[in-house]
Symmetry: C2
């Protein structure tokens, strides 16, 4: 084995060498390659899920669903790129009569930014890991990908990477479009390499911010798309037994180790919260992902249980086995709004695991301002209200506050169980994400694209997407000569 | 006058208070307001140009053209937003049969990020200043704007701000949508204020990087769109007298104080460069924008003229008047590629003023690699070649290298004289811009937007752009129920 720096430099060199040939592939060829990866993952499902169960402690049904989602999002991205609309191809005809002076022939298209370094997450060993959403988006955009494997599932990472690389190679994609590295130091060194042009990450606020700062401090900074932390407040105008049971199911699923776990539930002060204990006791213990996450959860749980003014609704249990793995059942405490404000240190931070806080409020009119004060950046916010309240305009202020601070606003339902679709937004104001970009759904492809304009270019030297003969048949938006004198005249 | 921090805090509070009402205005109302600003600027052209001439030393024809461009780009943005396509409204129908599990009704739209702080430039007192492109883009997006005036044209900044604010107010836009601040310290403090949600900047690499670092180091970082520095290399396969004369005209226009000035011209080693001196001598002296820029140019000029191996083709003149203003005529030196590589320190840095370097090359095959090595990030790169060369494929490698490192690639012509159009890209890899986003043309609006998704929202609480009755008549892209089973199947 050569030294670390040599390995990192070779990986960067391979990715850089692949960048231009990969960028030149047609959307349909790249789409077919993504589908080939999806097929290969599906074909190896049994093997992969077995390894994942052992390495993460997640359940077979959960991992089966997650792998299906993972191969599905590759197909979704393939479908999203084939028509070429994501390229946003624009053609301005040369216009000697352009209002501010003769306009040349200008053509602009979104091109891949170059090699992307993707830091895998621990809690979704498929969907946010080696072949996950960031990888799918970057490959769809035409960027070579290097994944820094998460140490929580090394064997799964290696096997997944073999399958992905093999399928891309068999589909005729250039060598070097997909590589795996391991080790924190390698990840940091590669993030600082000039040849890496964007970073992506899913994980804790602490680590995500460290990496974002490294990306921003490079001699030539690069964009860093981190999905860091979110407590996903839920505002209920009523709280019956069904709602409280569903809440416990959502906050305890996958042992609460989801970035969309509802960490806070606001309920009227007079709500009967007795169904919480019953529901929580019915949840079986679940292993936390790894000893490090277990330790961190133990600390957070102790802080919350010890917060002055917190009423314990369900204490839950937490035990450690001989390997240092921890197993938990749900913990739920209740506070009033005043206590939450007074004990932000202990209560407001994200608890990654099966722990949530119920906040009793006396006056619903306080909620919009309280939300903006306490929760300035989240992946999601949720409203549970009766049909009449949804229709009568009384929630307008609250919904405005939620939309201003969240990537996704839900009405009814629970934020866990993120669908992968064209209209999904999984990213919001910091610290939900380091930028406001989405890391789930096809809109996330724009993270890995940049505009390039060609002025008076001969047809022979234009990208296919901008040529008059349009060989890929992509949508081209056209600004005709002579049209400029009309611009802005709608307002007259 | 209250103290600085109070002023900054009040400005931030006004901007924040305007954010939600402004975001709720319809694209056509906002477009009409932009047109009203354009009309008001045009109506005050004579007065504004007189002030600008005195404060910047730029010529009346140049400033007349620049003001026309400035009002024009407001009209262009107005026209670009009225149809609502920039909102990228997406609607996924609820789909119980969605392949990865039942899909809720999901609707996503781009919403304004919130208050934007825009640092004005010195060299375009209209087009990149108070009412310039960043202001137009942010207002078009629906974001309140605070402009930090450039100290080089304070009176013009104040008068322009009065006109802009008055027109927006008369058009019915909320109070606080447009404010001006002055002073470096105020700018830095406001950039650190929680209520500012994005920054924009046009200026030097040094100052731009300082501000970008401040934005990235905030407790909650924000995107910072800086347009910093560019040397805009030009690659010529031939160099006749006409080409060399046009080069001198481009590098000396506005005293070379343009971010798209061609700072380097590559020519075959045997080219006759004698027309350079003749053309340079015919250029009248031009004032530099202000004493600070004059001083910096004096230093850069001395470094370049003193670089070992540089042949002086036109020494130019530089004199200082009693007010510390400097006046220059063009300086052009020639080096070979080897000298350029050996003396990067002196030669490669941008010289903001009428100074450029001609690089003689012996082998055109060296150019792609040399370009990528020496010029990793530029606003523009240009090719001058004969028709046969443009058609025969011999430039393919070079154009690939230019596109990978530049925002705009020109064929013939000169990079100065940036048109404002839908397909313009004025932004490229660092240090051209801090991100790859464009600061000219309508594509720049995306800098000030972020995605928000609504899940199972009642019609009454959806933004107008996402409602079924679509009152603004915006394009809505629709994903129907039952369609998902087909996704990715094109590859079969």
């Amino acid at each position: 084995m050569t030294d670390t720096t040599t390995v990192v430099s070779e990986v960067a060199a391979h990715a850089a060498a692949a960048a231009r040939p990969f960028a030149a592939t047609s959307p349909s060829a790249r789409g077919a390659a993504l589908v080939a990866v999806a097929d290969a993952l599906d074909a190896h499902a049994a093997e992969l899920i077995t390894v994942a169960m052992r390495e993460t402690g997640l359940s077979e049904p959960r991992l089966t669903g997650e792998l299906k989602r993972t191969s599905w999002q590759l197909r979704l991205f393939a479908d999203a790129i084939v028509d070429g609309s994501y390229l946003d191809a624009r053609i301005d005809a040369a216009d000697p009569a352009y209002v501010i002076g003769p306009r040349p022939d200008l053509r602009r298209v979104l091109e891949p930014v170059g090699p992307v370094l993707n830091f895998a997450a621990s809690n979704f060993p498929f969907a946010f890991s080696v072949a996950g959403g960031d990888t799918a988006a970057a490959l769809a955009a035409g960027c070579p990908v290097v994944v820094k494997a998460h140490s929580g599932h090394p064997e799964l990472s290696r096997r997944t990477a073999e399958i992905v690389a093999g399928a891309l190679d068999a589909a005729g994609m250039p060598a070097g479009v997909f590589q795996l590295i391991e080790g924190q130091q390698n990840g940091v060194e590669l993030l600082q390499d000039e040849r890496i042009r964007a970073g992506a990450f899913t994980g804790s606020t602490h680590v995500g911010r460290l990496l974002a700062d490294i990306a921003a401090a490079r001699p030539r900074p690069i964009p860093f798309y981190g999905e860091l932390g979110s407590v996903n407040p839920v505002y209920a105008t009523y709280a019956d037994a069904g709602l409280l049971q569903d809440f416990v199911a959502s906050m305890s699923g996958s042992a609460g180790q989801l970035c969309t776990k509802p960490g806070f539930l606001f309920v009227p002060a007079d709500a009967d919260l007795s169904p919480i204990a019953t529901a929580a006791e019915a949840v079986a213990e679940h292993r936390l992902l790894n000893p490090g996450i277990g330790r961190a959860f133990e600390g957070r749980r102790a802080a919350v249980l010890g917060a002055e003014g917190a009423t314990v609704l369900a204490e839950g249990a937490l035990r450690e086995d001989e390997d240092g793995q921890r197993y938990a059942t749900p913990t739920v405490v209740a506070v009033d709004l005043q206590t939450l404000r007074a004990h932000r240190e202990e209560l407001l931070e994200e608890s990654f695991g099966p722990l949530s806080v119920i906040v009793r409020y006396h006056d619903a009119a306080e909620l919009p301002a309280a939300h903006e004060e306490l929760f300035p950046g989240n992946l999601t916010s949720t409203v549970h209200a009766r049909a009449a309240e949804l229709a009568d305009g009384s929630l307008h202020q609250l919904v405005g506050a939620l939309a201003a601070t969240s990537g996704r606003v839900l009405f009814g339902g629970w934020p866990t169980g993120v669908s992968v679709t064209p209209a999904m937004q999984h990213g919001g104001p910091y610290p939900a994400t380091t930028t406001d970009a989405t890391s789930v759904g096809t809109a996330g492809i724009t993270r890995f694209l940049r505009g390039v304009a060609y002025q008076n270019a001969p047809q022979e030297l234009l990208p296919a997407s901008l040529r008059d003969d349009n060989p890929w048949g992509v949508p081209q938006s056209f600004s005709a000569a002579g049209s400029s004198t009309e611009w802005g005249s709608f307002a007259r």
